[in-house]
Amino acid sequence: MRPAAAPGRAGLSALEVVVGVALLAAVVAKVILVSSAASNVSSEDLANIVVEDQARLTLDRIAYSIMGSDRASLIPDAETPAFSARIRYRLSLGVQNGVVVWDDPELIALSEDDRKLRWFEDPGGAAERAVVWCDAVRELLEGEELNGVDDNGNGLIDESGLTFEIDGNTVTVTLTLERPTRGGRTVVRTVSTTVTCRQFEP
């Protein structure tokens, strides 16, 4: 008859426990590090994507609004190199009894206080209505510093994060968005488009 196994053989020795715990800790730490890194990368990618997406979406909204306006209605109407962080325009509702019917004026403007880009219907009027189109507009366009110098070489000085430039019947819209990531970085995206006012002065 074989002697019964010693009860201690059923568990782990102190050394085994220490080694096991150390290995487990190393693996867990590695997993956490990898997960954290992946999460950070993912978060930054996501932030990049979100900012890019938001910038494009906002730019499209602005572009579709301006292209439906008529050049004569744009305020301010100073041509490039003048620029503005706001533009007022009007849209056609069609023709009635041979006369073009115009909608209430609309305004797209960047607020200096909260850096929010708002669209206004009937600005200053009794039925004024405002909708925030974007809340992450940078104070100044990418690469620009508030120093009286054209830092980013686009011909404009100290231009704001939303800039309208009028040249003839076209309007160039440039928009810089800025959003911090969880990793402490800041994602900055600049998008630009040039649209032609389709409306024709009746």
């Binding site: 994507i49 069609g94 023709v95 041979g98 024709f200």
Partner: protein
């Protein structure tokens, strides 16, 4: 022993499995999350791209419809049931002729899940001679006490633009007075005024007598203006009619002809647009009244012989838009012959008078707002003529329709609801769809043209059956949605020499 070994070994293998599973699940969750983000991003990017493509497809549709209008077609391109194929998407354009004479094109573009609908309003009829304002190919005579000035019907009424405190009320300028011959302006004691240009023919002069004001240029024109003849639509005419009542004679929107129509004293003739009316002679006796209502659509009145609105008769235009009424006289008389267009009625005529081979006399009570072009034109003592700049604006040399409005409009519901492949949404096979240039709706055309041998020919038939290569120059054309012989229809577009003017 084997059992004990198994118990220990199995326990260890189990814990490794759990750890592995945790690791695998963790990585899987991360990967799935990233995949979902990437997928969502791709979907959004694709949707944005599709919407942009659909937008440009709709714009391409508008361009195609506009081109069709410029070619005299209806502007319809494809239909929702059979749209035009373009790139990876499709579009169709629906046109609607508005009562004001404008055409509204509505273009819907679809590409992938993208949808866009745009609308454009254009003025398809481009004029050439209304830009002449007040014009005669022979000498033009302005009698004492006359006033010719200009205004812009786009900016509101004449009264809103004129100095109503002046005697007589007038605007600051804008008159366009011209002639291929001389212009004589008699002022007399009361004085005549032309607030704008008065330009005679090349080498000719402007002569004045008495008190005359001409604020603009009197320089001779650099070249003669050729007034194309009026081409009267061929319409079966009713016998000569003398309307003596009771009640007014109402001509509803239609295409109709009379050999002669005479309105007896105290009777009314009411013409409602849209309409094309052809008369040999149109006569209003004293105290008779002509009421023209083009608010429902443009009214074109063709006269083949003479017009006589007796002194004391009345004219009443229910629209102040001069673009909605034209009176065209085709009769050809010698420049020395008596006036065959006598407009002695009392009232305000908002429209264009075009009589390139006739001699016209406009009485003082017949106040014209619009344009008047004739072979010989006499503005009687105290006559008033106000040239509409809007008509002149339409007279630009461009053969293209004038665009007046563009806008983005809401998608049709049946198009907006299913954001899948457009060919699936509409249930069409892309292989069977026409290309844009082949998708224009056919129109019935009545053409007069000169062929390559310079022989004048006519064509009456569907646009698809005509070979444009045999045309060396086009004298006139009218287009209809249906054969006008079988279906009583108002022309879609008219670019006869006359309508070119209007």
């Amino acid at each position: 022993m084997g059992k004990q070994h198994c118990e220990r070994g199995c326990a260890r293998r189990g814990s490794a499995l759990v750890m592995s599973l945790v690791a695998v699940i963790g990585v899987s969750v991360l990967a799935a999350g990233l995949l979902q983000v990437a997928s969502a991003t791709m979907r959004r990017s694709q949707a944005t791209l599709d919407n942009r493509r659909a937008f440009y497809l709709a714009e391409a549709g508008l361009a195609e419809g506009y081109t069709g209008l410029a070619e005299g077609l209806s502007g319809n391109v494809g239909t929702q049931a059979r749209p035009a194929r373009y790139g990876e998407g499709l579009f169709w354009v629906e046109s609607a002729f508005l009562a004001s004479g404008h055409v509204e094109l509505e273009s819907t573009g679809m590409c992938g899940g993208g949808r866009a609908t745009l609308a454009l309003v254009a003025q398809p009829v481009v004029s050439s001679v209304t830009g002449l304002g007040v014009f005669s190919s022979a000498n033009l005579r302005v009698e004492p006490g006359s006033l010719i000035d200009g205004y812009d019907s786009r900016l509101g009424s004449y009264a809103s633009q004129a100095d109503m405190t002046a005697t007589p009320p007038h605007t600051a300028g804008g008159a366009l007075v011209g002639s291929n011959g001389d212009i004589s302006v008699a002022g007399g004691r009361v004085g005549s005024a032309i607030y704008g240009d008065a330009r005679p023919g090349p080498g000719r002069t402007v002569s004045t007598a008495g008190s005359v004001i001409i604020t603009g240029s009197t320089q001779p024109r650099s070249e003669l203006s050729v007034l194309p003849p009026v081409e009267v639509p061929v319409i079966a005419k009713q016998p000569a009619t003398l309307h003596t009542g009771p009640g007014p004679l109402v001509i509803p929107p239609s295409t109709i002809g009379y050999t002669s129509l005479r309105i007896a004293p105290y009777q009314q003739l009411v013409i409602r647009g849209p309409g094309t009316l052809v008369f040999d002679d149109l006569l209003l006796d004293a105290e008779a009244e002509l009421i023209v209502d083009p608010t429902g659509g443009r009214v074109d009145i063709y006269i083949e012989n003479s017009v006589s609105f007796a002194a004391g008769s009345l004219i009443n235009c229910l629209s102040t838009n001069p673009a909605l009424l034209t009176m065209m006289v085709s009769k050809s008389v010698a420049t020395t012959a008596a006036d065959n267009v006598l407009l002695n009625a009392k009232g305000q005529f908002y429209g264009t008078l075009y009589a390139p081979r006739s001699n016209v006399k406009i009485a003082a009570q017949f106040e014209v707002f619009g344009a008047a072009v004739a072979q010989r034109l006499t503005l009687s003592n105290g006559g008033k003529l106000h040239v509409d700049a809007e008509l002149a604006a339409n007279s630009t040399a461009s053969p293209l329709p004038r665009m007046v409005s563009w806008r983005i409009i809401e998608l049709p519901h049946e198009v907006a609801v299913r954001r899948v492949d457009p060919f699936v949404t509409l249930g069409v096979d892309p292989a069977t769809l026409p290309y844009a240039s082949e998708a224009h709706a056919e129109v019935w055309m009545n053409l007069t043209y000169k062929d390559t041998l310079n022989v004048t020919r006519t064509y009456s038939g569907w646009s698809g059956g005509f070979d444009w290569y045999q045309v060396s120059s086009l004298e006139s054309y009218r287009t209809y949605t249906e054969d006008p012989i079988s279906v009583d229809s108002v022309p879609l577009q008219e670019k006869s020499s006359t309508i070119l003017a209007l």
